[in-house]
Symmetry: C2
Subunit: 361 residues, 2 copies
């Protein structure tokens, strides 16, 4: 039957002499580059943006585009069921995908959920998980329209979200111009601080005792930071406010890896450099307190802690005037690519900003 | 900050007194029903079909709809890397999702891939995996436009595919009418037969020896069945042929769980019963041979083996005349719901067709 086309002679078999390059040798982003090149680039005409931004963009007619993003959350990698309630895991899975849609300046509409689960999860726990997803969907205005449930050894949630926008309104990672201001929403590092607090709490709990002789922290004291970790907010609110004010951003990315990592993506896509002003980074008081308690550097938390799900954007000085000053903070400036990506401390000392954002490998 | 809304007092926490219903007590489809009810049904106006068919359907304007489906493949559940080359895993991951798009009578356009992977996978193996996905994408005319790569303990591939159609052309699971003929494409059970052969081969390999004193099968003898398992074909070809012939199917589903399971879904959605004629089921010679060798019932393989990725459809007797008789086989008839879903053997004995399709729990 001619329609069955076996692969070329043994090309698919992996002989033992095949080179074995460990993934950590090329890193997460190196791996993505190699896999992209396998896929090639014979894209459909309707495809505006493929792999390489927060979401892909394709035309659906009438000047409208859809954007699509997918993200997986794996137990033991992204969350720990021993101290994170299922409801929060569900919320976060949706919110972090919505954040990628927001980072294209689009509105989320539909989601699908592929759930792989071990048999030590109960129906009631899954109802809590889906309750958190339903709450996030209601909050951000999207519907879960499809899914898949399968067995696995670790709970894994793979979410895909589709959003919509006018093609002319999409904001990419590319587009930043030297002279643009670099800005962020919210504050940075609090999610990482909250995670430290939760991990210390778990350790204290496992060690037993009433908390007096253990390192079990006072969760109330760190409520904001813990909530930032468990219950991240996609910045749809900001994008809607700015759209109403007629603001046009030059470039945009969401802060999932940490500012120090995500600025690299934005600059690489835009073909620019950047100067980040360490003294301008918005850092919450609880982040400083957690850093002190757990002997971490608050600046490193803000730059490399990750999972802030705030927005990093570039904007021209002229357009900046349209922004309500309570909705963002200036953290630096876009410069020529030849100047690299640097961090300037309050004393004016400039050092290269190393890529130390979270990588999975 | 009022925009942070903590969940209601402790509602998200799971006290130890929480009921614990194991998933296997409600089953895969029972679980899906319960999770659907958590999500509620306040759907967007543009949503035509949510959870409950092979893919969801939403309007994109101009009379067009998009359809979206997601499926996860988990190592140790859906595939075994010890005897399935990566390239085939990649092909199958795309082809099985395309099959769900085809089962709505839509054309696949875009895919996203969320990849969770352990550190015992090499970059070269992932390139093979993506090579198989690229080959399938090229064959079915779609593009991989986005993805996510994360660490995990088991290789997990979660694929989402978006397709397009005119709204009036979509064919649902619902829509079968008593009196319609039930038909399938291709043959049934060969994928399950191929899996038996591969598993026997693995066992023989592990036992060592040259195959003379082990049960290691002759793969050439079962090449068709093995290929059906490793290298399934989504029936886009059939749907295109029938569209050109102006055929309108009443109801349609792809055969992933096995005819015996998938007929239940089609009948439930349509509110009908069905009679399947055991003597009419198309079963390949290699399936019979594998069944004999491994002491299985070939009829059970055809009904419940699963992973055929052929199409099961209902069609009126009038429309059937437009079908090229080489493209399908009649396997039964749609009857009134009160008659249930039954299997009739060549002697005319009728028995209820039990739901024994593959369930994950």
């Amino acid at each position: 039957m001619s329609e069955y086309r076996p692969f070329d002679s043994g090309a698919s078999m992996i002989p033992s002499s095949e080179p074995f390059t460990p993934i950590n040798q090329v890193g997460e982003f190196g791996l993505i580059d190699r896999l992209r090149s396998v896929l090639g680039d014979d894209a459909a005409d309707s495809l505006v943006q493929g792999i390489g931004d927060d979401a892909a963009v394709y035309r659906v007619g009438g000047g409208q585009v859809h954007v699509i993003t997918t993200d997986a959350m794996v137990e033991g990698v992204h969350f720990d069921r021993t101290f994170v309630p299922m409801r929060y895991i569900g919320w976060k899975a949706i919110a972090t995908n919505v954040s990628d849609i927001v980072a294209m300046n689009a509105i989320p509409h539909y989601a699908t959920v592929a759930l792989a689960l071990p048999n030590n999860v109960s129906v009631e726990q899954l109802e809590s998980l889906y309750g958190g997803m339903a709450e996030a969907c209601s909050h951000y205005g999207l519907n879960i329209v499809g899914g898949d449930v399968t067995a696995a050894t670790k709970l894994t949630l793979s979410i895909t979200v589709v959003g919509e926008a006018r093609e002319e309104d999409i904001v990419y990672r590319k587009g930043a111009q030297p002279g643009d201001l670099l800005c962020v929403t919210g504050d940075l590092g609090a999610s990482a601080a909250g995670l430290e607090v939760l991990l210390a709490g778990k350790k204290g709990f496992e060690a037993g005792g009433d908390g007096a002789e253990t390192s079990q922290p006072n969760l109330i004291e760190f409520a904001y930071a813990v909530e930032r970790h468990l219950y991240p907010q996609a910045r749809l609110d900001r994008m809607k406010t700015w759209a109403e004010a007629g603001v046009k951003l030059s470039a945009l990315i969401d802060l999932s890896d940490g500012l120090g990592g995500d600025i690299q993506h934005l600059c690489k896509a835009s073909g620019t450099g950047a100067v980040i002003e360490a003294g301008l980074l918005p850092i919450h008081m609880q982040t400083f307190k957690a850093a002190e308690l757990y002997e971490k550097d608050p600046l490193s938390m803000a730059l490399f802690g990750g999972e802030d799900y705030e927005l990093l954007f570039a904007i021209s000085k002229a357009d900046k005037e349209k922004l309500d000053e309570n909705t963002y903070a200036v953290v630096g400036q876009v410069v020529d690519a030849s100047e690299g990506i640097t961090l300037r401390d309050p004393d004016g000392n400039v050092t290269p900003l190393e890529t130390s954002g979270f990588q999975h490998f």
